[in-house]
Amino acid sequence: MLFKNVSARFEIENSNSIDVILEHNGYEMVKKLQEFTPEQIIQEVEKSGLRGKGGGGALAGAKWRLLEKAKGKKYIVINADESEPGTFKDRSIIEKDPHLLIEGIILTAYALNSNDAFIYIRGEYQEQAKILQKAIDEAYEKGFLGDETIHKYNIHLTLHRGAGAYICGEKSALLESLEGKRGHPRLKPHTPSPEYFFNNPTLVNNVETIATIPSIIKNGSSFYKNLGVEPSCGSMLFGVSGHVNKPGIYECEFGVSMLDYINTLGGGVKGESIKAVITGGVSTGVIPFEIVKDIKLTYEDLRKAGSSLGTGGMIVMNESTCMVKALKNILSFYHDESCGQCTPCREGTFWVDATLDKFLDGSATLEDIEILKSNSKIMNGKTVCVFAPSVSTVIDSFLKYFQDEFIAKIKVDV
C-alpha cells in the first residue's frame, strides 16, 4: 500500500545532508537543467495532472501557466506554514529530505523564469527552519543556488519565518505577511490571475507540491499521471493521527481505501472501534464510520461524501469520543486563529465557540443549535477568504451526523 515517491529517501540515514543525498541521485535533474527548456518543464507539470498539496487541490500546471503568462519580475513562494490541526506532512519533507524541496524549487524557478524564491515556514518550526537553512547554505556552497550556479541558472532562495498565525497559510495572507504586514487575506481578484508579492506576479505552492516536481521531470509526466485514479493523479503524503496505534505520515497513491489506510499503515484504531474521521485537517468535515468504510482517498470521493481531501491529514476518533467536545476543540481553534478582518468570521467564530461552551457546561438550549446553524450559514460564502466557510463545513458535518449528541447536552427544564 505504501508508495514511496516524495518520501523515497526518508529512511536514509542523515538524509538531510547534501553529501549523503548527492550519493542518492540528489539534484540529478538540476544538474541536467540545461537539457530542458522552461516550456518543456511547464508542459510536463501540466500533463502530469499534479494537484496542489496545500489543501485546495488545484491543478499545479494551470497555476504555473498563469504565472508564465504574467509580465514583470516573478517570484516563487513556497508555503511551509503548515498549521492546520491534523497536518504534519510538510514537516517530514523538511526534516527528512530538504534537498528534494530545494531541487524542486530550482526546477520551478527555472521553468517560470524567476530568480528569487522564498520559503515561508511557520515560526514554531524552529528546528525545521534550522535544518532547512543548513540545507540552503549547503546548496549555495555546492553551487546549486546563487549567482553563479553549476547549472547556469541564477537563483536565490531565502527562508522566511512566520511567527504564529494559521491564517498565514492562506496564500494571500502569506504574501501580506511576507511583505511585513499583518496576515490579512486579500480580496479575491475578479479574473483568474497569479498572486502578487509587492505587485510582482508570484506563484505560491505547497512544500509537497514542489517536492514532487523532480520526480515528474525525472520519470516523465505519464509516470505521475498513471498513478492514482484520474483526476486524482499521483501520490500524496497522507497522514493519520488521533486514536490510532501508529500515527504518522505514509505516502500512498490516490485511491487507496481510507479504512485500509487507517488499519494497515495507521496500525488500527486505538480503542474498540472507529466512530468518525476528520478527513484532511480540521478544515474538512467529519464523517462517521458507515461512510469511512466505503471511502477511497481521492478528491472526488471525499467531495461526494460532503467533505474534502484537504491536506490529507486524517484524525481518527474512537467510540469514546465526545463529538460535542471535539467540535468545541475545533471551533476554539478557529476562534483563536481568525484574522479578525471580516465581520462574519471575527464575530461568528467567537459566537460559535462561546455557544459550544454552553453545551459543555449544560446551559445550552434548543435555540443554541439554531445559533450554530445560522452562524454556519453566515460564515459560508460571505467572507474575504475561505477560512470561515471551513468553519461552516465543520459545524454542518458535526450537526449532520451527530446532532443527537448535541441535543443530549441540552438542559431540560423540569
Binding site: 471580516c342 462574519p344 471575527r346 464575530e347 445559533i371 445560522s374 453566515i378 474575504v384
Partner: protein
C-alpha cells in the same frame, strides 16, 4: 455609459464604476461601514453584500464594478436576511449604550438596526470586554466596545495624513484600535476620524455629551480660518427659547475644495463664533443707537479725508459695497493679511490666514505698507472693516465695523455686525475657487449684517445677489450667482 438594473429598475451609470458608489449616488439604501468615498474600499465589514444575478454567492458592492446589463438585488429576502445576520454580528459585543452615546442620531449601526428591525437580541453569551474611554489625543476619545473595526480611522492616518498614529492591535475577535506606546493622535487633521467613524467609537471630547444631534440645525457654510475656504456644516442650536450657540463645525464634501475633510484648527474655530461681541453700537465710547451712529458716519464721510482698511476675510459682496462706498466718498481702501508658514501644508491648510484675499486683490484694494503709513498723515478719518491689523498712530477719528471685540473700544465709534456663521456670502479661495456660504433659516439673528449697514450708508438696497450680479462681468468671468449658490465655481488664478 451603461445600464444596470437594481431591483429591476434601470440605472444609467459610468462603465466600470464601483457599484456601491452608483447605489449611493442613486439613493438606493446600501448598508456599509468600511467603504468610504474618501478612503475607497477595504471589504472587511461585509455589510454591503448584494445579490448579483449569475453569481452563486452574494458579492460585496464595494468590490463590484458595474458593466452593461448587470442585475443587482438589494432587497430580496435572502439578501435582507444576510444583511441582518451580519448586522447582528456587528452588535454581538456592542454595549448597546445608545442613550449615553454622542453618536446617537448619526450612527450607522443604530440606523441599520432600526432599518432591519433587530430589536430582540438572541445573544446569550458573555460579551467581549474592551476599553471604554481611551483618550487618544487631539480631543478624541475611543470606546473600543462600540468599534466595528471598519478600519476607516486607521486608513485615514495611514493613507491620507500618512502619520500612522492609529493601528489595529491583536488578532481576531480580540483586535482593537489604539495608539501605540509613545504615540498620540496628533496630526493636524486628526479630528476627521470622528466624522469617518460610522459608529460612536470615536467621539470628540469637545462635543461629548453637550448636545444631542437632533436638536441641532446644520447650515452649509465655509470655514474662515484660512484661505482654503473648506466647506463646512455649522451645527447650531435650533431649540426654541435658547440663544444661538454654535456647537461644532463639520466638514462638508466639496470635491473642488476640501474633499471630505477639514483641519482641526478650522474645526475648532467654531469657538470664535460664540465669542462675537454683543449687539451694540458705540459712539465715542458710549452706547448709542444705530441711527445716530449712521448719521454721524455719513457726516464724517462728507467732511473728512478718509482712508479704509478692510479685513481680507470680508465676503465678496461686503467688499463690493465697500468699494462702492469708496467710490462715492473717494477714499482709498487698504487690506492686510497674515502669512503663517508654519500653518500651511500641501494638503488643505494654507499659510494665508485670511479667507478672501483673492477678492481684495481682484478689486484693486491696496496692500498695507509704507504708502499706507505715509498717507495716514494727511488723513483725518479711518474706517476699519473688521481688520485686526488696525493701528492708530495718533489720535484720529475712527469708525469701526466689527464682529468681535476691537482693540480701540474706548476711542472709536463702532458698528457691530453679524459674523459669517449667521450671514451669507461668497468667498474666493487661494486657488481661485468661488464658493457660497448660507444663512440658517432656523437660527434667528439679532444683529445687522454688514451688507445692510453699507447699504444704509450708501442709501442703496443691494442684495447679496444684486451686488454680485452688478460686477460679475467685470470681475467674475460672468459666472451667474445662482450657479455659485449650487456649487463652487473655478475662476482660475
Amino acid at each position: 455609459m451603461v445600464t444596470i438594473y437594481v431591483n429591476n429598475k434601470p440605472i444609467i451609470c459610468k462603465d466600470k464604476e464601483l457599484l456601491i458608489k452608483v447605489l449611493k449616488e442613486n439613493d438606493i439604501f446600501i448598508p456599509h461601514f468600511c467603504y468610504h468615498e474618501s478612503l475607497g474600499a477595504d471589504g472587511n465589514c461585509r455589510m454591503c453584500l448584494v445579490e448579483i444575478e449569475g453569481s452563486k454567492r452574494p458579492q460585496i458592492a464595494c468590490d463590484t464594478f458595474v458593466y452593461d446589463g448587470l442585475r443587482v438585488h438589494t432587497k430580496s429576502e435572502s439578501i435582507l436576511e444576510t444583511n441582518k445576520d451580519i448586522l447582528e454580528l456587528e452588535l454581538l459585543s456592542h454595549p448597546v449604550d445608545c442613550p449615553t452615546c454622542d453618536q446617537a442620531g448619526e450612527c450607522s449601526l443604530q440606523n441599520y438596526y432600526m432599518e432591519y428591525g433587530l430589536y430582540d437580541s438572541r445573544v446569550s453569551v458573555a460579551k467581549n470586554k474592551k476599553d471604554k474611554a481611551l483618550d487618544l489625543g487631539s480631543n478624541i476619545m475611543l470606546d473600543q466596545e462600540r468599534c466595528v473595526l471598519c478600519m476607516r480611522c486607521v486608513r485615514f492616518c495611514s493613507d491620507i495624513t500618512k502619520t500612522d498614529e492609529l493601528v489595529v492591535m491583536g488578532r481576531g475577535n480580540d483586535s482593537y484600535i489604539t495608539t501605540t506606546p509613545f504615540m498620540r493622535l496628533s496630526n493636524p487633521y486628526a479630528m476627521n476620524v470622528i466624522d469617518l467613524c460610522p459608529v460612536g467609537a470615536l467621539t470628540s471630547k469637545d462635543f461629548r455629551f453637550k448636545q444631542r444631534v437632533w436638536f441641532l440645525d446644520s447650515t452649509q457654510s465655509i470655514c474662515h480660518a484660512c484661505s482654503k475656504n473648506c466647506s463646512i456644516f455649522i451645527d447650531h442650536n435650533a431649540q426654541k427659547n435658547q440663544n444661538d450657540h454654535v456647537h461644532r463645525f463639520r466638514p462638508r464634501v466639496n470635491t473642488m475644495v476640501n474633499g471630505h475633510f477639514i483641519c482641526d484648527e478650522g474645526r475648532l474655530s467654531y469657538k470664535k463664533a460664540n465669542e462675537t461681541r454683543k449687539n451694540d453700537f458705540i459712539m465715542k465710547s458710549r452706547i448709542s443707537t444705530y441711527e445716530s451712529i449712521l448719521k454721524h458716519t455719513k457726516k464724517l464721510l462728507q467732511s473728512e479725508n478718509a482712508i479704509a482698511l478692510v479685513s481680507a476675510s470680508l465676503s465678496v459682496e461686503q467688499m463690493l459695497l465697500v468699494k462702492e462706498l469708496s467710490e462715492m466718498y473717494l477714499f482709498d481702501v487698504y487690506y492686510d493679511y497674515k502669512e503663517d508658514e508654519k500653518f500651511g501644508d500641501d494638503f488643505l491648510k494654507s499659510s494665508i490666514k485670511e479667507s478672501n484675499l483673492y477678492t481684495a486683490k481682484l478689486l484693486d484694494f491696496k496692500l498695507v505698507d509704507k504708502p499706507y503709513e505715509e498717507s495716514l498723515i494727511s488723513k483725518s478719518l479711518i474706517l476699519n472693516f473688521n481688520s485686526e491689523f488696525i493701528s492708530k498712530p495718533r489720535p484720529i477719528e475712527m469708525i469701526e465695523f466689527l464682529t468681535h471685540e476691537g482693540k480701540f473700544e474706548r476711542s472709536s465709534s463702532i458698528f457691530t455686525y453679524e459674523y459669517f456663521h449667521n450671514d451669507m456670502g461668497l468667498l474666493i479661495n487661494s486657488d481661485g475657487v468661488i464658493s457660497s456660504y448660507k444663512k440658517s433659516s432656523k437660527v434667528k439673528s439679532e444683529k445687522f449684517t454688514l451688507l445692510k449697514i453699507l447699504n444704509d450708508l450708501l442709501d442703496e438696497s443691494y442684495t447679496n445677489e444684486s451686488i454680485y450680479e452688478k460686477y460679475k462681468e467685470l470681475f467674475f468671468k460672468n459666472i451667474p450667482y445662482s450657479k455659485i449658490m449650487k456649487q463652487s465655481q473655478r475662476l482660475g488664478l
